[in-house]
Symmetry: C2
Subunit: 404 residues, 2 copies
């Protein structure tokens, strides 16, 4: 019988899991860093670095909002199964799962400490030499092997059924695509950009394009997505990278994962402008982020191409279809990334990259840049032919806002 765990429940649960020796001392700690779940660490205080486990439990609502925001417990099943699939293709890039308990909607998994959430690392200008290749490879392999290019027709359709995730898809449909461009009580924004937001919400051409992207999100069952692939879903160090929290996973358009990741890198880039350190350091870190954006796409594109060449069902032609497919994928990713850029400024869920800019006026400038970059990523996506075009649109958005 499901019941939400308190700290002591988590400890008792781990105690009887046989992950620890019967006489091992255990401590528990409430990490309280999930927006929607309970997350506890249970560890041996004598050896916290190697004798430690994470207890993650879904609640029937979003923890950060409360019972007014219901979220199905089934997301624990989705997450544990998505981690299994991802592990098949990228064993080094996901946390180990020790146990999934459907009754308690609970997963025991690897403690990824001392890695930190990448978004925090970006804010502190840490360079992660493996990040771009790891994420490019993660997306190439998970998206390729779960698509019709690789799976048998029947297995693909069973995968769609298994990962049917209506509750969490609806959250994305609402928060990313619908609410930000209409008058919705969940939206919030810096009062200093009120005029910009109202202009955005009256832009009928933009609303048409975002509707088109939303329709793609809702109808295009291309591959098993992580579906929440922002820099807050990555635990990272300079040595390695782990992609966590795939509870939004469903079979959707590949562009959504790619666009979400690139959009969040663009947010990190924009936020750098307003860091309180010397301009040279900011400029240099922005260059590192630009390089990461390029390398994410280029690694993805190179690995995806190689997999298609070597592993796709023979019934799928190689060139020229593959080139068209990838060119369109980049364009659609730009659109998805643009929707992410906008919703992180005007929707319900903001990001620390921008929120951590203490001065409201300066933050407003950054937010205008994000809106402007998001808008052009969406509206000009059909003219995007390389990831450099995306970087250039972000730079233009910055220059335009600074000149205004």
């Amino acid at each position: 019988m499901y019941r939400p765990f308190q700290l002591e429940d988590a400890k008792a649960y781990v105690r009887q899991s046989s992950l620890f020796a019967p006489d091992e001392p255990l401590e528990a700690q409430d990490l309280a860093d999930g927006n929607v779940n309970y997350v506890y660490r249970v560890y041996n205080p004598a050896r916290p670095d190697d004798r430690s486990v994470i207890v993650k439990q879904a609640l029937p609502y979003a923890r950060i909002v409360g019972e007014s925001f219901p979220m199905p417990l089934d997301r624990a099943r989705i997450e544990s199964r998505a981690l299994e699939v991802e592990k098949t293709y990228c064993p080094d890039l996901v946390p180990r799962v020790y146990r999934y308990d459907p009754e308690m909607a609970l997963t025991l998994m690897e403690d990824l400490r001392p890695r930190i959430i990448m978004r925090a690392g970006l804010i502190h200008q840490v360079r992660y030499p493996r990040f771009a290749q790891d994420l490019g490879r993660f997306m190439a392999r998970t998206l390729f092997f779960t698509s019709d290019l690789s799976l048998d027709s029947d297995a693909k359709k069973r995968q769609v059924v298994e990962f049917t995730n209506p509750g969490l898809c609806k959250v994305t449909e609402d928060l990313v695509f619908t609410h930000p461009l209409v008058d919705h009580p969940g939206n919030r924004w810096n009062p200093l950009i009120e005029g910009d937001v109202r202009r955005l919400q009256k832009d009928e051409l933009l609303r048409a394009e975002v509707a088109d992207l939303k329709m793609a999100f809702m109808t295009r069952a291309e591959a098993l997505l992580h579906a929440d692939l922002h820099t807050g879903s990555i635990m990272i160090s300079e040595q390695d990278t782990k992609v966590i929290d795939p509870e939004f996973a469903f079979v959707g358009p590949m562009s959504f994962d790619i666009g979400t990741l690139l959009g969040n890198l663009a947010l990190a880039w924009i936020a750098q402008e307003f860091h309180a350190d010397d301009p040279e350091r900011r400029r240099s870190y922005r260059q590192w982020i630009e390089g990461a954006m390029r390398e994410v796409w280029e690694t993805f594109s190179r690995e995806f191409t190689a997999l298609w060449e070597e592993r796709a069902h023979p019934e799928w032609p190689r060139r020229p279809y593959r080139d068209t497919f990838l060119a369109r994928l980049l364009q659609e990713s730009a659109g998805m990334g643009g929707a992410e850029l906008i919703r992180r400024v005007v929707g319900l869920a903001h990001v620390m990259d921008l929120e951590s800019i203490p001065d409201g006026e300066r933050r407003a400038v950054a937010e205008r840049m994000a809106i402007s970059a998001g808008r052009t990523w969406i509206m000009e996506r059909r003219g995007v032919h390389s990831v450099d075009d995306l970087v250039a649109l972000v730079r233009t958005a910055r220059d335009t806002v600074l000149a205004a």
Copy 2:
């Protein structure tokens, strides 16, 4: 326990169905006109016109091919459920279902006699004054109301699961999109067009576009399709129209239904050229078919637009997105129709429109026209802006082949 029915089984089954009075005399007849199922008529010989019922039973393989071509019995469930959904939106356009028996994979349904299969009527140059409006309305209503424009997000996703139809989707994936353009033993064609077929199968640009259409068929869960909407799935008279046999139903791209129907009308148009009657009559009937193609699309487009205006979830913008949506839908329908035109000449399943042309040389000319029209519908679809453009491409294909 499932068992295939013989004539006497069908009669006995109907006898205990309470559809007939206990003392009513019953006769049974094997209609043997399904490619894949058993179809029996059971009727009161004293009143065959109003006391008659159809017994349709799925076999675990395609009847016309044999056990080497397995087809899941689950298609009987899909068909009966699809008929229910279609009845909700177009009660006058589908047969009544009296009973669905999951154990026997069997449906008792309305006998649609004296209506005939529309393909036969077209071959005999019958004009059906209600056809185009009926089918335009059928597609507009079934596709709109089962799409994300109308259904709640959650209900739509449940519909995808309910209509997961891997066995029959695979048949279409293979027979329409894959086999015709590769060397496959199931393909067959008139030996007189050998050269044309080999050229077609070497056309890498065409293969890329057909792969793109196949990917759309496999991934785009837009609406509940009939998914086999050719003129052999329509029982018709001058008074009314019934759409039958939705056993291929699944949630797929709207363009597939529209394109299949328009493609089959184009096949009927092409076949008229070779009718053994006076040219004026043929010309006049071709004009009727052209008018029907226009009216199918225009009725569809008008009704779909009105539904969108009045009934779409308010979160979906109206214009300009709706206009873009419909413009792209026509272009993609051209592609799907083009694939249908080609596969009916070079694939496994041919059509009587062309097969009934007795002279092989004359049939070869018609077949070349169909291939040429199909190829241009696919390759030039992004330049299609009205249904007249589609008609014009068929006329051009005819003129080109005749001039060669």
